[in-house]
Amino acid sequence: MRIIKDTNIDFTGKRKIGISFSLLLILIGFISLIAHGGPRLGIDFIGGTLVQVRFANPVSSIDVRSAVSSAGYAGAVIQQFGGDREVLIRILEEEGAAEASGNLSQTLAEGFVDNPFEIRKVVRVGPKIGEELRGKAVLAILAAMFGIVIYITFRFEFKFAVGALIALAHDVIITLGIFSILDIEINLSVIAAFLTIVGYSLNDTIVVYDRIRENVKSMRRESYEIIVNTSINNSLSRTIVTSITTFMVVFTLYLIGGEVISGFSFAMMVGVVVGTYSSIFIASPILIEWQARAAAKKRASLTSS
């Protein structure tokens, strides 16, 4: 069985369309980010307290809100969560979040005498830690990119590293943009997903690059553009099969993995799609542009001398 027969699609010829499309996506992402005042960071990065409570019987978020504000947390955000018995209560650091979880459980016990509840989760992150984690997250993504560039330069050539790096930045920025448009919160596990996207997208890019490196040797007479295009076509069936299986797995995780992991798996889903796209339309075409420029430079220096 083959989904993809031997193909000869002109991917590189359409690179201008691909690049424009990506720039458009990035632009939309940026506009959304500016409109939202930056990415929506979770408690992990801004500090505060999050309490997840499950009641025995359905509750209304209005009742919970009034109970919570009577405990002195007027600015708390109450969010119904996975059915009508569970709520998330978020309290920002300025409101004395340090004491919140203890105070809340007492207030709720008094406010909902007939409706026993259970505190399912408490996350409290002090402002200092939030800042540290934020710094660390950015550092981690940069460090991963740096390590990867070194490796690719070592295994291939520098221009491949540049192409891969641009594709990576592209994927992360677009995923960030999509998160912003859908107003999904960025927490620690989403950052983990981002790093996995970095790894996955690269996996894809490298498969194509490998093919290019191989074809450069066997197709000496052909133009660089044709070599790149052939390589993309050569590895297309693999790219698609792997993307399908990975997507299948991550999608299952998203559907039934539970709320705890949904941010992570959603980021991965986006990442798989964007990563596959970028290795075809961004990472490889960049090599062509680079090659063309290098050739022009060479010609220029030859004629001038």
Partner: protein
Amino acid sequence: MRTRLAPRFVLIAAAITLAAYMLSPTVEYYLTDPEQTEKREALQDRVLKLGLDLQGGIHVVMEVDIPKLVENLASNKSLLYEAFAASKLRAKDEGIDYLDALLLEANERNIKLARHFIEYGIENSEIISALKDESEDAVNRALEVIRNRIDQFGVSEPTIQKQGRNRIIVELAGVQDPERARNLIRQTALLEFSLLKDPDVVQSALTRIDNVLKSMRTGISLDSLLAITEAKVESADTAAAPPAESQDKAISVEEIFGRTTTDSRTKSSDSSVLVDEQIFEDRPFSALLRNVQGDIGVPRENVKAVKRILAMEEVKAALPADMKIVWSNKARDFGGRGLPSETFFTLFAINREPGLTGEVVTSASANFGGGASSIAGQPVVYLNMNDQGARDWARLTGANINKRIAIILDDKVHSAPVIRDKISGGNTVIEGMSSINEAKDLSIILRAGALPAPMEIIEERTIGPSLGRDSIEKGTKAIIIGFILVVIFMAVYYRMSGLIADFAIVLNLSFVLAIMATLRATLTLPGIAGLILTVGMTVDANVLIFERIKEELSKGKTVRSAIDAGYSRALKTIIDANVTTIIAALVLFQFGTGPIKGFAITLFWGILTSMLTAIFITRTVFTYFTDRFAVTKLSI
């Protein structure tokens, strides 16, 4: 040409046996009835542990509150308060250590620290470095204290470790009552016995606070107000205790400070407080309070406002120097008897200088109060004191019969009994606990000793056991379904070869789990995600190989040489692709905390084993079948 397969099969069989051996304790452990604790404990060291997010538990990061520590160590600190505050700001603004900021401030302000820290040296820099040592030392001692407390609490396999210079991480997996564990960890256990101030002294202090607020609201100078009110209080002494049923109205917190003049009723009720309307104009602070069985009660709604008022510098200055106002440790319900149920926190005005501190306590035990006393049947904590403590306690109680003494833990009053008799022998009882568990925990804390420095919880992650159970159910379900989908897809798409790949996936999963169990790593929810991704990676390696084989076959190669060429060409790609993922995993491991680290670990090992299974094992199987059955057409 036949490849010699025997050594390969031996190697594979050995790997599978080893993996089975490494996994067997885990399988046995999770199949054993939780009741059989002995058997489970014997296995415990060799099983794949579940992370906090899967079995519930608590993760706490504590940090020495260095500014507070320094403040506690300083003498004559009133001269230093400004420098302290400035250093705090500076440390924050410039992102430097608080102590470094303090050094800079002290030098700029020409403060000789030696005057305030007599034992720590002469030069400012010398004192700062001594304070740094002091804070590090405090962490080490705190580590001991917390370890002691946790040991007595009885949690299996707690993780208590130092992080950096002034942090402690405590991780307790599988705790059923995280709230209780948290209280146990965080209490500083500063136990004090302090006499309550006489009611008339307290009343005049309250009046003074009223006047401070009033002068802020009206702009009338404090002195002139003082004269008026003092006259009033004398003439109408009955007004001192607010009537039980007064006309309450809701006003905004801001109104107390005179900042709001609009109709308060239109404001949202979120920031409102309950005040006694009749006396609000005259005594804005007392209006927030209630007389609750002779104590000063603060209705829950008013707590925030009262805290804010008490924190004001002007109010602090208005209190007598030797008086301190502290809160009760919890709210009490004083409703009933036809009155609506209302909960109150209680305020106590006490002697700033404690009569006795907890250092003299030699032992503490929890029990139910016995005999016919007022505490019969209530959970209480019995204390024993050393000789010196017993002498001081006897003197203190003997001299203050019929007065009240507050028993204060961490600046919260647990109870304030009346001293009926001189207590000699050093025994005493703390009451006011709502359950025997609370009494037990208090006795643990008192026995293990106080934290040597104020500690602050800067990060806390608590997962209730039921959420953990849900997560593990959903996580397992997801991995099984995802896994089945992939297995079916591979079998449909690549037929027989797909089945070989499926075999590799199964082996790969068990290898990763076996390695993790051996390394005593922890399986977290993101770890499960990592496993799923590992499945994806194994699939990818096989897809790369299979697609190459197909290509070679379409070029007209024989089955045998197509397989050879497919593997050798794909190998390079697989390695390059996987090394980059490994780099990402290593970075994640380096940066990640708990759950994310779990993801990185599974990803890292998963990739390594996927290379082994996808390349070495599947190839062996391929070679075996093609040799044995002289396959001329590959099912791929």
